[in-house]
Subunit: 397 residues, 2 copies
């Protein structure tokens, strides 16, 4: 892999060609227009966008690193720049003609562009949740006033086309779940299952949206267990009694045309005990209660926040005598696995039509095991539509 240090003179000719032809061009223009409206409302001269999902959303280009900063967008009332380096300039010129390319290098640092534009930008919007302190300090040399701008929120209401992509990712997830159930056998390891999931998903022309969490037995009590070499065997019992099933928790997601799915199912290798059934049932009803509440609110036209929905499932689990869920009840999903809205105890995010998010209660008992059930939903006019459709009855393998 390469690191930037291009030594090259940038193009002289500006090219503000905006892709106005074709569905894609129209789509990107609409997104830019929406962004500009928000900038105007926030009284910002421009916004510097560093988050890769936001860059993909506005340009269609998806190949920038998620680990290292390789590009920015700078969008104002009448300009839109994409700032990147010589490793990408050729492909950006071709694939992102609706942005003007600023090719940064040691000899042509981004500061030059800032210098040129600073007069017309009184207040610069920045993604404070994404930009580093180092970047910020360098920016504030040029722009006296900066203000947080939540570019992520641009993406929180999905279009039909986006929902279709997420739904396709969910469908592939359901197929992968069906496929993997047949593979779970005595002697197999968590890692082997994760690899099989990945293989299947890739064969279907998609990607993983994150490294699968596969947890056997007591490993399932760690919500973010690191999939490892634990085998299905006599030593991996849920509890000491031989009359219990081995918990197999699977939390995985598919990425299809950049859009993510996310689902969790908890199954049992061997017959689940009465206690295990009770825990499973409690988690399932907690999810059901949250869904029912949300649909009711929608029915009566009431405002719903993430916190309100979170509370329903959380309290149900606590009332049944278990510890509170050690994570949010749910999260928005789209180009990123985690995005707006947040369905968590303090979330003021309003849940509105077109949002896609997970509802995923769980009960975890240290050194014993855990159960989590997670589905994705899109909020429609009449209520929630479930996008993941795998069975939720207790599955005994």
């Amino acid at each position: 892999m390469k690191v930037i240090t291009k030594i090259q003179i940038p193009e002289e000719e500006p090219h503000f060609k905006i892709a106005t032809t074709g569905t894609m061009g129209v789509m990107f223009n609409l997104r830019l227009q929406k962004l500009r409206e928000k900038l105007k409302k926030a009284n910002l001269g421009a916004v510097l966008i560093a988050d890769v999902a936001n860059i993909t959303y506005l340009t269609g280009y998806e190949n920038f690193s998620l680990y290292e900063r390789e590009a920015y967008l700078l969008v104002g009332g009448n300009f839109q720049y994409i700032i990147t380096d010589g490793r990408y300039s050729e492909v950006i010129k071709k694939q992102v003609p609706h942005f003007k390319l600023f090719e940064r290098s040691h000899q042509n640092p981004t500061e030059k562009l800032f210098q040129d534009l600073k007069k017309q930008i009184k207040i610069l919007g920045i993604e404070e949740n994404e930009l580093t302190v180092l970047e910020y300090k360098s920016l504030t040399k040029h722009f006296q006033k900066t203000k947080h701008f939540d570019t992520d929120k641009l993406r929180n209401i999905k279009t039909d086309q986006e929902i279709k992509k997420i739904a396709k990712a969910c469908k592939l997830g359901d197929l992968a779940f069906k496929y993997i159930l047949k593979k779970i056998k005595f002697g197999i390891t968590e890692e082997e299952i994760a690899n099989e999931l990945e293989k299947f998903i890739k064969q279907e022309g998609a990607q993983l949206s994150f490294p699968p969490i596969v947890a056997f037995g007591k490993n399932s009590s760690i919500p973010h267990h690191q999939t490892g070499n634990t085998k299905i065997g006599p030593s991996t019992r849920f509890a000491r009694s031989g009359r219990e099933g081995l918990i197999i928790l699977l939390d995985f997601g598919v990425k299809f045309e950049n859009y993510c799915s996310d689902m969790t199912r908890t199954t049992f290798f061997g017959s689940p005990s009465i206690k295990q059934r009770e825990i499973y049932q409690t988690v399932l009803v907690a999810q059901h209660e949250a869904i029912k509440f949300l649909n009711n609110q929608i029915k009566f036209g009431k405002k719903i926040t993430g916190a309100m929905v979170d509370k329903i499932a959380r309290n149900y689990i606590i009332e049944k005598g278990y510890s509170s869920i050690p994570h949010s009840l749910g999260h928005g999903i789209g180009l990123k696995v985690h995005e707006h809205p947040s369905v968590s105890p303090k979330s003021k995010d309003e849940l509105i039509e077109g949002m896609v998010f997970s509802i995923e209660p769980g009960i975890y008992i240290p050194d014993l095991g855990g159960v989590r059930i997670e589905d994705l939903f899109v909020l429609e006019k009449t209520g929630l539509r479930q996008l993941t459709t795998s069975a939720k009855e207790i599955i005994q393998l």
Copy 2:
């Protein structure tokens, strides 16, 4: 996947157990000791560490997300905290006993810890290249003075054990290259080759260190080409003439026990033309010249910076009439694919014994194609030792 919102009371009992037994315990203690010496030298009361590679380096725990902030370390003269949430607390208690766990949640925010410690920390070290503006603004409510601390530099000189791991990753990379050469056939796509590489590496018990770059023909002129559906076929010629080979550029790396390798080879499907051979030869000699220069400097005990080595290969390519390399000549590697030292035009990083880095010149001709050759080296007392050992003669498939 989960999002943090744990509602739980943290443990009352502090446990400053430091893993002093066993090789691992000694190793982590040494690393902490080295960090504390650097803190003292920099006159810092403590450092807040957010970078996942640095967290792994100091704790041994490797499963925090690279995309989302899930943990911090706070290390001072006589304390070391690991700050994370309920998804991880169980595993951290077991696997990282030499750090005190602060389990953050909505009811127990990190601010509480800051409040407790702020009196004994006059200046707090922060990773300005990693911390976001949002995090920074929240920190500065508690700590009046912060200062950049380059925790990454702790990792720039590798121990024998670390070098062995990188060498093993390189060896697996060499094996993968050998394996993949047999798979390159008429009709195969870039993506299929990338998938085959991944499959092989996983079968060997390792991981990819980054998504492989596989570029056919003119795609190879984009240094960071996005591996796609291009097939080896009559339409994917290097140039218009039928007398040229199709360039197959492969840039990939292996991750073995958390340590990364990185290598690039450029081969030809069909007989390379005279021009192609000339480009290949130029790149190879550029690499050779850089190595020779470095070894000579070492021999005569002279100081060497990244910039000095970069210049040798870069100028050689320019003198031969090609464009300058549109990226750095090389980069350090270890827990991350890109780390200290930088081997680039402006790099003042001194190259010293124990550093591991790439040397990877390239020539790229837009719409025609590119050639890059990349190897990893460890700098030893007597000069460079090459860790990747795949053949560099022109390979015709």
